[in-house]
C-alpha cells in the first residue's frame, strides 16, 4: 500500500467522519494549548528561596518580571503546572469521545476494505492514520494558537510586570514532546476503543462481555478519596519524625494521585453504575420508557457511561483543584504562622493577592473543563442517535411514539449521571 493510497483511504468519509475528524482536531488543539501553557510555566527559571548565611532568604533572580506570585515563586509553579496538565485531561477525554463518533459507519467501511483484500494490519493502519492525522493537525493548530496567544496576551501591569510568562519558550524538545503527546494519546485511545472490535471481511464483530461490569472500581475511588483527604497528609506528618522535612512535592503528589484514582475509578465505575441503574429501572420501572431505557443500559452499560465520563472527569478535576486551593490555603497559613514564629518581619512577605488570583485561575479552569465536558456529553448524545438511527427508525415504524423514544434517550443519558455524580462528590 503506497502512502498516497493510505491517505486516500483514511480520508474517505462521509459527513459524520469529517465531523469526527474536525472535533478530534479541535480537542487536540485545546489539549495542546493547555500542555504548551504548562510547559511554558515549567520553563520559567529562578524564584527559588536562597538561604543566606544570616538565616534570611531571598528570591533567586530570573522570575522577578512577573506580576503573579504563582509564577514568581518556584514553590508555587508546580501547582500551576499541575492545574494546567489536569486541564488537558478532560480535553483528552473529549477527544476520546470524538473518536467514537460515527464509529459504526467507519467500522462498516473498514469491513468493506477487508473484503476488498486489506489485511487486518492495513485496516488498523488506515483507521489509526485518520485519528493520528486529525489530532496531529489539531496539535499543530494548537501550537499556532499558542504562538498567537503569546503575542496577544503580552501585557504588563501598572508596575511594568508581565501578567503572563510570554517571555519564555519551553525547551524545543519539551515543546515537540508536548505537541506529539496528544496525537499519540489520541491514537492509543483509538486503539483502546477498537480492542473489542474485530473487523472481519463479513462485517464487524463486537466481543461481548459475558457478565455485567464488576464494582471493583469502587476500591480505586475509596483509595483516591483517602489519598486526597487532608487528614492523610496530617497523619503522615504525625507519623514521621519531627526533624524530617517531607519533600515539598509530597502533598501535591498525594493529591494528584488521589484525583487520578478517583477520576479513573469514577470513569471506569460508571459502567457498573449504569448497569445497576438499568437493572433497577427494569425491575421497578413502570411504562415503556423506563423498560426500554433499562434494557438499553443493561445491554451496553459502557455507552451510557462514556457519555458522562468526560463530565465526571471534569467534576472530579474541579473538586481536585478546589482541594488544591484548600491545600494552598493551609500551606499559606502554616507558612505564615511559621514566619511569625521564626521571623515576624518575613511574615508580611506573603500577601493575600496571589491567593485570590489562584482562586480565579482555578475557577476559570473548572469552567473551561465543564464546558468541554458538556461538549463531550453533546457529542456522545449525537453519537448515540447516529449509531442507533436504524433501530430508532424501526421502533418508530413499529409504533413506538416519538415522545416515548425521546424520553428514553434522555433517561439513558442522564440516569447513570445521577448516582455517579453523587459518588464524584
Amino acid at each position: 500500500m503506497r502512502p498516497g493510497t493510505l491517505i486516500r483511504l483514511s480520508l474517505a468519509g462521509n459527513r459524520t467522519d469529517r465531523l469526527r475528524a474536525g472535533l478530534t482536531a479541535a480537542s487536540a488543539a485545546l489539549a495542546a494549548v493547555a500542555l504548551l501553557a504548562a510547559a511554558t510555566v515549567a520553563a520559567i527559571h529562578g524564584g527559588d528561596f536562597d538561604y543566606r548565611p544570616d538565616g534570611r532568604r531571598v528570591l533567586a533572580p530570573g522570575s522577578g518580571q512577573y506580576a503573579s506570585a504563582l509564577l514568581v515563586e518556584s514553590g508555587l509553579r508546580p501547582g500551576v503546572i499541575f492545574a494546567l496538565v489536569m486541564l488537558a485531561l478532560p480535553v483528552l477525554a473529549l477527544a476520546g469521545q470524538c473518536i467514537r463518533l460515527g464509529a459504526p459507519a467507519r467500522d462498516r467501511r473498514l469491513a468493506a476494505l477487508r473484503l476488498g483484500g486489506a489485511t487486518p494490519g492495513q485496516t488498523v493502519v488506515i483507521a489509526g492514520a485518520e485519528t493520528a492525522a486529525a489530532s496531529l493537525l489539531g496539535s499543530l493548530a494548537g501550537f499556532g494558537v499558542y504562538l498567537v496567544l503569546r503575542v496577544v496576551l503580552d501585557r504588563r501591569d501598572a508596575d511594568g510586570k508581565l501578567l503572563l510568562p510570554t517571555d519564555v519558550l519551553p525547551n524545543p524538545l519539551i515543546l515537540i514532546l508536548a505537541l506529539l503527546l496528544v496525537p499519540v494519546l489520541a491514537g492509543l485511545i483509538g486503539l483502546l476503543l477498537m480492542r473489542r472490535v474485530v473487523i472481519t471481511p463479513l462485517g464487524v464483530v463486537r466481543r461481548l462481555r459475558d457478565r455485567g461490569p464488576q464494582p471493583w472500581p469502587g476500591v480505586l475511588i475509596v483509595l483516591g478519596l483517602v489519598l486526597f483527604a487532608p487528614k492523610t497528609l496530617q497523619n503522615l506528618l504525625h507519623l514521621t519524625p519531627r526533624h524530617w522535612r517531607l519533600p515539598e512535592w509530597l502533598p501535591l503528589a498525594l493529591m494528584g494521585a488521589g484525583v487520578l484514582c478517583v477520576m479513573v475509578g469514577v470513569v471506569v465505575g460508571t459502567g457498573w453504575i449504569s448497569y445497576t441503574a438499568g437493572r433497577l429501572l427494569r425491575r421497578y420501572g413502570r411504562g415503556p420508557v423506563s423498560l426500554l431505557s433499562g434494557a438499553r443500559l443493561m445491554a451496553d452499560p459502557w455507552n451510557g457511561s462514556r457519555t458522562i465520563g468526560a463530565l465526571l472527569a471534569a467534576v472530579v478535576f474541579g473538586a481536585g483543584t478546589l482541594g488544591f486551593r484548600a491545600d494552598l490555603a493551609t500551606d499559606f497559613a502554616a507558612q505564615n504562622r511559621l514566619g511569625e514564629l521564626t521571623d515576624p518581619a518575613l511574615g508580611s512577605a506573603y500577601d493575600t493577592g496571589f491567593y485570590f488570583g489562584a482562586i480565579r485561575l482555578v475557577l476559570v479552569a473548572v469552567t473551561i473543563a465543564l464546558v468541554v465536558a458538556a461538549g463531550g456529553v453533546l457529542v456522545a448524545l449525537a453519537e448515540g442517535i447516529v449509531a442507533r438511527r436504524r433501530t430508532y427508525a424501526a421502533m418508530t415504524a413499529g409504533g413506538v411514539p416519538r415522545s416515548k423514544l425521546g424520553a428514553m434517550l434522555l433517561v439513558v443519558t442522564l440516569v447513570p449521571l445521577l448516582p455517579a455524580l453523587l459518588l464524584a462528590r
Binding site: T5, R8, A12, G117, P201
Partner: protein, 228 residues
Amino acid sequence: MTGALLSGTGITKSYGATPALRGIDVTVGEGEIVAITGPSGCGKSTLLHCLAGILRADEGSVVYREQDLSLWSEASRSRLRRTEFGVLFQFGQLVPELTAAENVALPLLLAGSGRRDAREAALGWLARFGVADMADKRPPAMSGGQQQRCAAARALVTGPRVIFADEPTGALDQLSGEQVMTAMVQAVREQGSAVVLVTHEAPVAAYADREIVLRDGAIDPSGIGIVG
C-alpha cells in the same frame, strides 16, 4: 482428484452448538464453475466462506494449489484473497465513500499499485461490465444492478484464479441479475478463472458446469432432499 485447483476435505464448522457444515468434501478444477445450491440455512454460504479462507473451518482442510490454507495466518489469507481470489457478495461489499473506479481499483491499490495504473485497469473492467459512465459516482448514487456490476468488476480486476460469488444476483431484479451473470461468466471463461457460485435459484445455478446440493450442512446426492 488430480489437477484440482481448490479442494476442501471434511470441512466441519459450527456456530456455537449449531452445526453448519458436517464434513463436506468438494473440489473445484481449473476454470470450472461450480454451483453450491440448497435451501436457506443449509450452510452454503458458510462453505463458501471456508473455501475462500474468510472463515476457518473447525475441522478438515482447504487446499489451494497444494497449500493448506487452514494453516495460514489471517494476514496471508487476506493477501491471497487480494491476489488470487475475487469475492462477489449479494450486496454491501463496495465502500460507500469511494467512487466506483476507486472501489474497483481497491485490491490493486492495497497491493501497492500506483493510482494511475490501478484506475486504468478499473476503467477497463467497468467498461466491460457496461458501467463506464459510473466511474466517478459513489455507490449510493448507483442502482443495485450498477453496484453489483462494479462489485463484479472488482472481483475480476486482479485476474483472480478463483471467484467466490455468494448470491451475486440475490438483490437484483431478474434482468439485471442475468446481465451481471452473463457478463461475469463471459469474462471468467475468457480469463480461465474458476468460480464457486452460491445460489438458491436454479436459473443462476444453470450458469455453472456442475452443481453441489447442500441440505442441513451435508451434501445431498439426489439434489431433491432425499438423503440415503
